[in-house]
Symmetry: C2
Subunit: 204 residues, 2 copies
């Protein structure tokens, strides 16, 4: 049987990773979305084990100590993390697990788990990146400038990734990622029994 | 600019690599077929530099000494080899160069050139492999048995390859290879200037 793998889709703010991942999950019902753990309070429509695993700060910190996260971060005094067990169980079943994450998080995952395919999503131009950051409309000019500078600097980390995808149109980016997924399924290293597979069919 | 790469499509007799490569080249006019050098005499319709590079035995042996082949072999007292210069020049131009070759040849290429994507083509079953070898109709029972045994043993080398593709139908095998090609074009390691690419567009 084929082993699954962790698919990390990452990139700076404005690369459009949220939109691309949503479209990918819509089209491929077999891809499992990696559910994060968090210490922030659930919103009214959110369910434990569906949107997030909601943990107390104490529970979260215990899991950090036990090395139970592939990555974690403290954002506006709330913890967020990717639970190792959830991801590894799904992969063990042969599933492809999708993790949408920022660049800092992806670099943490890279240190913690080898069986991962890393995709760096890029905006087509720096102008377009700025447009996308501005379009969110929720931030001050200062925040926009800070996000833009961060995004610019984060482009340097593309060398740490396996693949890059330029997100000029969601359609094109999703198609590129689909090629990568199909190719990665055919990797010899994910299959321990290729010869047996061909031989077994003969014995039917 | 993207660097090209060498695409090795290989597998035992009966895997159908000839048919698959012909179909791939028919559909993708941009893929460059790796032209072999040989010491055998040209047939009436064959042209130097198109079907083969026709060399004298002396010329061929000199090139072997100068390490000018990515692989070479002596078959029925004729030499055959893959000229390093031809392949490297095309790759330098950004082209994908396709080399269709047997398993022993692929293993030689692996030792001699790093920038290669290795695909192992498999028959769907051992029965089908035997059928395909028999269907050639040109060989004695003894030859068929020998080819079948060789093919069976060569399946063990799949672990040396990057990808495997099961050739149940040419259509499916070609589609799988197309996914691999598109994914490999998006490999970060083949692009030295991804950040620059995004920045340059801005300056237009």
């Amino acid at each position: 049987m084929s082993k699954g793998f962790l698919l990390v889709i990452s990139g700076p703010s404005g690369s459009g990773k949220g939109t691309v991942c949503a479209e990918l999950l819509k089209r491929h019902k077999d891809i499992v979305f990696s559910i994060s753990a968090t210490t922030r309070k659930p919103r009214p429509n959110e369910k434990h084990g569906v949107n997030y695993f909601f943990l107390t700060e104490e529970e979260f910190k215990k899991k950090i100590e036990e090395n139970q996260f592939l990555e974690h971060a403290l954002v506006h005094s709330n913890y967020y993390g990717t639970p190792r067990d959830f991801v590894l169980n799904e992969i063990e079943k042969g599933e492809i697990v999708l993790l949408e994450i920022d660049v800092q998080g992806a670099l943490q995952v890279k240190k913690n788990y080898k069986n991962t395919v890393f995709i760096f999503l890029l905006p087509p131009t720096m102008d377009e990146l700025k447009n996308r950051i501005i379009k969110r409309g929720t931030e001050s000019e200062e925040d926009i400038e800070r996000r833009f500078r961060n995004a610019f600097e984060e482009l340097d980390f593309v060398g740490e990734y396996d693949y890059f995808v330029i997100n000029d149109e969601v359609e094109n980016a999703v198609r590129d990622i689909e090629h990568i997924i199909e190719a990665e399924k055919l990797r010899v290293k994910r299959h321990s029994d290729i010869k047996k597979k061909v031989m077994k069919k003969e014995e039917r």
